[in-house]
């Protein structure tokens, strides 16, 4: 019935019980082929493709910092444009 049953999410046993994974950033790739799928659907099975455990102290969200700084720059630029060009640039405005 389900169109998308077992063909896609094929990995080994659930990896969240991390006995076979090492937190040292080493690559403990789980064998991807020929084992039973853990679930019937692909939804929520991102854990199955985890190749390494990264703990609290080893994780620096540098990519996040870059993304949010880009966002901040866009916000600032757009705000200045909207306020000083679009808004204050309009001819008729409420002055009293």
């Amino acid at each position: 019935m389900a169109v998308d049953s077992t063909t896609e999410g094929s990995t080994a046993s659930p990896t969240s019980d991390d006995s076979d994974l090492v937190g040292d950033g080493g690559v403990n790739v789980v064998d991807q082929s020929g084992s039973e799928p853990p679930t019937d659907s692909i939804v929520g099975t991102a854990d199955d493709s985890i190749v390494r455990e990264i703990g609290h102290d080893e994780f620096d969200p540098v990519g996040t910092l870059i993304l949010v700084l880009i966002y901040m720059a866009i916000l600032l630029g757009m705000w200045v444009f909207m306020y000083f060009v679009e808004f204050l640039g309009r001819g008729v405005t409420v002055v009293g």
């Binding site: 690559v27 939804v43 929520g44 099975t45 854990d47 990519g63 966002y71």
Partner: protein
């Protein structure tokens, strides 16, 4: 909380009653979504003059239906489903009484049906029932009493639902006197406290003014007062829509990405900030209202601006949690980890899209929040452009994406189609980009919102880039894609609900946060304290403006306002309905 994946029985097996209540709530939500989305399509084609199948006077009936069904029924029934699930899951115990759960569900549903009947009655003039007052129902526009009564029942239903979750919490607390409140339960409780405070405004407005007035018991109302009371509730309601989406972003999205929540304490801080700041900001919807001094508007603005803080913090925490997932999945580099995310999972992709659109909608919200720049966009099409990005995508798309992961847990059946789900969320994103972007631009050109035919005889709108015609086509095209997306979603959900049973249709396991609650001060969990501060802030922000409106604006009932010429031939029916409503209410309460 689950400790390991794979071995736990499914939610529906652990908590069959709670799963049934959540399913029922989702059913109502999705029915409302389908009807509301269809009305949305008709409106998008109508106001852009692409295709007009209805009378322009009926446009406002559909617009009211669209607003109420999507912004109130769909969102809040969705919230009830998610919160009911989250409370049982995170406290790991069933609701205190499933009869009580069904009672609030019944009351909310009855209220919604009554309000919808009043609205849709507008399409059948011979009925003499109508409620073409839009989602904001500003007096002196008047709706049939059934509309207000339905609304009141619905709100009482939401109060009882909150009581249900608080009772669960109390039972849990008895067994766990020294534990930190589990994160999802914490989110549910703080959101509901915010809702209790916020709904005071609309309850006073509806019960003391609008119902007596629509029944003819009082002659008139003070329009500015009921409008201010509406916005007392009308802004925090947007956070009521948003908080379940935030809950999903904090607690489920990291898992969907293959990672863990970056920081549990900051998530708590964010929800507390929303509790404190959501309500004393409503006057920012009234920047251009006469009768309110500029100082009060400025106070509302500073509160609103600081309300950006929890959302900006959420942006960081959510993206960091996703990045953690991507890196655990082998992602490398400064930005190329983005490619390592599980984009093929519609639950993940949908929430990621929702977050991205929310970032854009956040910007237009900042413009809305700015006091004097509000002249630029007030009541223009910019505003619906904004909230279709926030409630219409950040909330709606997150709900739909979450449904792909949650519904199988509630039904025990497999998701019918993962690729259709992915196509659906992509269609929503693309449709919303077209529609919302064009709406913002059209708003800057001066095109008003909530207007059946924004094509006028005396003048033309001008836009610096492109043409107004292009903008109209983009709005209509976007609306069409959004409607198709909803059709695909409902189709997928329907076939999922009747689909194949499976022991483990999704991976339910939610991993522990990277930084847990242990390190955070216990005062964060002191709900009484935060409630007290929130109430004080509301009193500070609203006492003087409301006193001023009553004193200067002709008293509580607006003395001397004309009684609108709306006569109801069926007062007897109204009385019967009213009596029935009270009986139902009494039945639930006793």
């Amino acid at each position: 909380m689950a400790t390991a994946s794979g071995n736990e029985p499914l939610f529906v097996e652990r908590f069959p009653d709670e799963a049934a209540v959540a399913r029922a709530n989702l059913l109502v939500a999705f029915v409302a979504l389908g009807i509301g989305a269809f009305f949305g399509l008709v409106q998008a084609l109508h106001r852009t003059d692409i295709l007009r199948i209805i009378d322009s006077a009926d446009y406002y009936t559909l617009l009211t239906g669209h607003g109420v069904l999507l912004a109130i029924v769909f969102t809040i029934f969705g919230l009830a489903a998610f919160f009911h699930w989250a409370t049982a899951r995170s406290l790991d115990q069933p609701a205190v009484s499933s009869l009580f759960s069904w009672a609030w569900f019944g009351l909310m549903t009855t209220g919604s049906v009554l309000a919808s009947v009043a609205i849709l009655g507008g399409l059948v003039p011979s009925l003499g029932i109508s409620a073409d007052v839009l989602f904001t129902f500003y007096a002196p526009l008047q709706a049939h009493p059934i509309f207000y009564i339905g609304l009141a029942m619905f709100i009482v239903g939401t109060w009882l639902s909150g009581a249900d979750w608080f009772l669960s919490y109390r039972a849990w607390r008895e067994d766990n006197p020294n534990e930190r409140i589990p994160l999802q339960a914490f989110m549910v409780l703080t959101t509901m406290i915010m809702w209790y405070i916020a709904t005071v405004g609309v309850a006073v407005s509806v019960v003391f003014f609008l119902i007596p007035w629509s029944l003819g018991l009082i002659e008139s109302v003070n329009p500015l007062l009921t409008r201010t009371l509406f916005w007392f509730f009308g802004h925090p309601i947007v956070y009521f829509w948003l908080m379940p989406a935030y809950m999903m972003w904090y607690t489920v999205l990291p898992k969907l990405a293959g990672g863990r929540l970056f920081s549990d304490p900051l998530a708590r801080v964010v929800f507390l900030l929303f509790l404190l700041l959501s309500t004393p900001v409503g006057i920012h919807h009234q920047y251009l209202d006469p009768g309110i001094a500029e100082g009060f508007k400025f106070i509302a603005m500073t509160n609103t601006m600081f309300l950006l803080l929890p959302s900006l913090l959420t942006a960081f925490t959510a993206v960091a949690s996703i990045e953690h997932g991507a890196r655990q999945r082998g992602g490398e580099g400064y930005l190329s980890w983005l490619g390592a995310l599980p984009w093929r999972d519609p639950a993940f992709a949908g929430m990621a899209f929702a977050g991205l659109i929310f970032a854009a909608g956040g910007f237009s919200g900042m413009i809305n929040a700015g006091m004097n720049i509000n002249y630029l966009i007030h009541n223009s099409l910019w505003v619906p452009g904004h909230f279709h990005m926030t409630v219409g995508t950040a909330v709606a798309l997150t709900f739909m994406a979450a449904a792909y992961w949650l519904v199988p847990q509630l039904t025990g059946t497999k998701l019918y189609s993962r690729p259709i789900g992915l196509l659906q969320v992509v269609l929503w994103f693309v449709g919303m980009v077209f529609m919302s972007n064009a709406m913002h631009r059209a708003g800057l050109a001066g095109i008003p919102r909530r207007t059946a035919e924004p094509q006028y005889q005396n003048f033309d709108f001008v836009t610096p880039i492109g043409s107004i015609f292009e903008l109209r086509v983009q709005i209509a095209f976007g609306g069409l894609l959004l409607f198709l997306s909803v059709v695909l979603f409902l189709f997928n959900m329907l076939l999922t609900a009747f689909g194949e049973k499976s022991e483990r249709p999704v991976d339910e396991y939610l991993p522990e946060p990277l930084s847990g609650p242990e390190g955070s001060p216990r005062v964060l969990d002191n709900l009484g304290l935060w409630t007290g501060i929130a109430v004080v802030l509301v009193i500070l922000a609203y006492t003087l403006p409301i006193a001023g409106i009553i004193q200067n604006g002709g008293g509580l009932f607006g003395g001397g306002l004309p009684v609108p010429v709306t006569v109801f031939p069926d007062v007897e029916i109204v009385k019967t309905v009213l009596a029935g409503a009270f009986a139902a209410l009494a039945g639930v309460l006793l």
